[in-house]
Amino acid sequence: MENNRQKEQWIDEVLHSTQGMLRAEPSAGFMAGIEAKLRHPQGKKSLSFPIKWAAAAMLLLALNIGSVVYATGKAHKTATPAADSNPFARDIQSQNLYNY
């Protein structure tokens, strides 16, 4: 009980420790810094962080889609040469087979 009271008192003291606080004073070169910033406009603005991440994600997605399309296209091409070894398959492909 006593410990709780002491704890609450300490917390109150900490929360009120900034009472009567004086404002911080600027350093001697403060005005010179403002003048320097006014004379030299801000540098080139770079892209914001979320835009950079979105661009990176889009690039990865495009690469993935491209590689999938390439792989399926290749698989389709490799499937057809096997038919050359089978003469019947060639006929089916050329649609010269007649139903008698």
């Binding site: 704890k7 300490w10 917390i11 003291e13 900490v14 929360l15 420790s17 900034t18 009567g20 606080m21 004086l22 404002r23 911080a24 004073e25 600027p26 350093s27 403060f30 810094g33 403002i34 910033k37 006014l38 962080f49």
Partner: protein, 156 residues
């Protein structure tokens, strides 16, 4: 808000530059002090967000490159305007404030340290007075919780 004297000066200089360049676009819907406070708060929040992003990317680069030095924790903030006998307690307060979410931190600093009326804080942060009071209540509750943990650790 940034808990760094040099950085605070840098931001203050940028605020003056922004005010000088945009004073013609000031529409007088609020008072000029509110307008300047709003610019200052936004610049501080921009810096805090950039620092969070930097910490995240630094953590990721640490994961992949074991030779990287770990990020240093921010040194304890010592406000120059606080009386000597209260400095130690103020350090605990500033450490606890640093753990608050940005909006609670901003409202607490404006209310408790800048001692602005709630109406002015609502104008600066572009929210209702009720929202400011709710944030302030949550900030104080979170600070009390954090400080209770610190007290228990210090007195173990």
């Amino acid at each position: 808000m940034v808990q760094d004297h040099g950085l605070a000066e840098d931001i203050a200089q940028e605020v003056f530059v922004t005010v000088f360049r945009s004073v013609l676009s000031f529409n007088e819907r609020s008072s000029i002090s509110t307008w300047i406070y709003r610019i200052t708060v936004n610049k501080c929040l921009d810096h805090l967000r950039a620092k969070t992003r930097q910490k995240r990317s630094g953590f990721l680069s640490m994961l992949f490159n074991k030779d990287e030095q770990p990020l240093h924790d921010q040194p304890v903030f010592d406000h120059p305007g606080i009386q000597l006998e209260r400095k130690e307690k103020a350090r605990y307060l500033f450490e606890a404030i640093e753990t608050l979410p940005d909006n609670q931190k901003t409202v607490f600093i404006l209310a408790h340290i800048e001692e602005l009326p709630h109406k002015d804080i609502a104008d600066i942060m572009n929210m209702s007075v009720k929202a400011v009071e709710s944030l302030l209540q949550r900030a104080k509750a979170n600070l009390r919780k954090k400080l209770a943990t610190v007290y228990t650790k210090e007195n173990e």
